[in-house]
């Protein structure tokens, strides 16, 4: 079974870490992941930029609304995610619009730039 593990924390606290603290945490996290990577069982890992860099596309009738900031509703649940290489935010929003069109009902797409990523070692 594949599992997605989603990480939540206070970004202001994490943003207040010094370079040394940051490196220390990243090393500790890597030590936990490494055996899974070696065993070919770790999929893509991504660290996202802060929510200040996020844009949200909200389905709202015919023309979806573009809102600055992260997805902030509690009535809807996270159902999935895509990681895609786009030239800029407009291109990413265009893809999100197409996804929204192809998908029935309402819903939202939060577009968040990725800071760092590793493709992982999972077989296709």
């Amino acid at each position: 079974m594949l599992y997605a593990i989603l990480c939540y924390n206070d970004e202001a606290s994490v943003g207040a870490w010094s370079k040394a603290e940051e490196d220390q945490v990243m090393d500790a996290l890597w030590a936990v992941q490494e055996p899974y990577v070696q065993a070919g069982r770790m999929g893509p890992v991504a660290r996202l930029l802060p929510t200040t860099a996020a844009t949200t596309l909200r389905k709202n009738g015919d023309e979806p609304l573009v809102i600055d900031g992260p997805f902030a509703e509690t009535k809807e649940q996270l159902l999935g995610f895509y990681v895609v290489d786009c030239d800029d935010l407009d291109a990413a929003l265009a893809l999100a619009r197409d996804l929204a069109k192809a998908n029935p009902g309402l819903g939202s797409y939060e577009i968040r730039p990725v800071l760092t990523h590793r493709p992982g070692t999972l077989p296709a």
Binding site: G15, A16, V66, G69, P113
Partner: protein, 420 residues
């Protein structure tokens, strides 16, 4: 990370929100600060055993408010609040309480706190010192070290600033849209001042001073979290992220300034650049250009060029033209001239900056650029005069050393010229 380091990070990040709310309750900066201090002491006693609360800021506000009430007994009519032991054990109740107590006020609390620090009555140096003391929580000693003044002089500076603010009537009701926009602009300018204090410091600067750039980034991100839809705040944050991304490449191992064209771009911080580019991208979608956005867009063009030759100077020239319209200043025109020299050659750039001479005669960069342009035109003697004036006006030893190195490279050619 140790428990203590985690707690300190949480206290630092909760500080603006907590002091902002306490300032609204007590309407007095000193009382708010003391109440927050007391709450921090209690947090250091209680969090290691009980674990950190889910919402550290709410915890600190409630505990600080109780502590402040105990101390000054000003607000006896205020309803009794649960004690902190009860709050810590009931995380949901705590979050609920915080919601009821503050809710949407948080945003204006922090803005008010920041705005109080950059009150127009205060000179820039006092604004920065006060913001670093109150919002960032740096000690007087740390701030004094950053500004290379004695601790008692800095203490006095901050005390004077506080006294002025106490006299200047700060309105405590929620600001209207126009007032909010004005506060936001003043706060953005103050944050950029803090950044420049750190950024303009040379390689020999103390860690305390260099750390001001990091602190400014933290404040800008904080402001942006509160005002997520303001393109100029996106622009400000992007601008300082993109400038700070080049920090490691700006000086060589001898401490000499390295110009943009000569910097080792592998030393640029890719993470800060990614964040800056994402923010300016977001800001431009609003089609409401402002000075911070335009400057960030210029920095973004430099950041996007993998090598100096790939820099889109024509676009940079156009952006500076926009900036000249938005914020006319001889310094902006001087910067535009650099782009013009790349696009149209040194003669065109020289013609552009010559009319600026009366206003920029005391400005280091004017003479530095003039010298460089004259040199490109082969006017060695005139270049030497301009470089000499630049050295006399240098603000830091690194600036002077940079020009001196250019002069040294000039000399042998000169001698050769004289002998033939």
């Amino acid at each position: 990370m140790s428990d203590l380091a985690w707690i300190e990070a949480a206290l630092t990040s909760a500080r603006p929100q907590a002091i902002g709310a306490l300032l609204r309750y007590f309407r007095d900066l000193d009382t708010a600060e003391e109440a927050f201090q007391e709450a921090c002491l209690r947090a250091l006693r209680s969090w290691p055993d009980k674990g950190p609360p889910r919402d550290p800021a709410a915890w600190l506000i409630l505990v600080g408010r109780n502590a402040g009430v105990d101390t000054v007994r000003k607000l006896s009519r205020q309803q009794a609040l649960p004690d902190e032991a009860a709050i810590s054990d009931l995380e949901d109740a705590e979050a609920d309480l915080a919601e009821r107590l503050d809710g949407a006020d948080y945003r204006d609390d922090i803005l008010r706190l920041l705005f109080v620090c950059c009150h127009p009555d205060l000179p820039a140096t006092q604004q920065i010192a006060l913001a670093l003391r109150i919002v960032s929580g740096l000690s007087v000693k740390q701030i004094a070290r950053a500004f290379l003044v004695g601790e008692s002089a800095m203490e006095q500076r901050i005390t004077r600033a506080k006294a002025r603010i106490a006299k200047a009537d700060t309105p405590f009701e929620a600001p209207g849209p126009i007032e909010r926009a004005e506060r936001l602009a003043a706060v953005a300018a103050m944050i950029y001042l803090v950044f420049n204090e750190g950024y303009s410091a040379g390689p020999g600067a103390t860690d305390a001073r260099a750390g001001l750039a990091d602190e400014a980034i933290r404040l800008a991100r904080l402001l942006l979290r509160l005002f997520q839809t303001e393109p100029e705040i996106m622009g400000l944050t992007a601008l300082i992220l993109l400038q700070h991304a080049r920090a490691a490449a700006r000086f060589d191992s001898a401490g000499e300034m390295v110009l943009l064209d000569d910097q080792d771009r592998r030393l640029w911080n890719a993470g800060l650049i990614a964040e800056g580019l994402a923010l300016i991208d977001k800001a431009m979608r609003h089609r409401r250009p402002g000075p911070y956005q335009v400057q960030a867009a210029i920095a973004a063009l430099h950041a996007r060029a993998a090598a100096p030759a790939e820099t889109d100077w024509a676009q940079i020239d156009r952006l500076y033209a926009t900036l000249e319209r938005l914020q006319p200043s001889p310094v902006v025109t001087l910067n535009r001239a650099v782009a013009v020299s790349k696009v149209a050659g040194p003669a065109a750039a020289l013609a552009m900056i010559e009319p600026l001479a009366p206003r920029l005669t005391g400005y280091f960069h004017f003479h530095g650029l003039k010298g460089a342009l004259l040199l490109q035109l082969g006017q060695t003697e005139a270049a030497r005069v301009a470089f000499g004036q630049a050295i006399a006006l240098a603000n830091t030893p690194a600036e002077a050393a940079h020009i001196r190195a250019r002069l040294d490279r000039l000399l042998p050619e000169n001698d050769a010229g004289a002998s033939t």
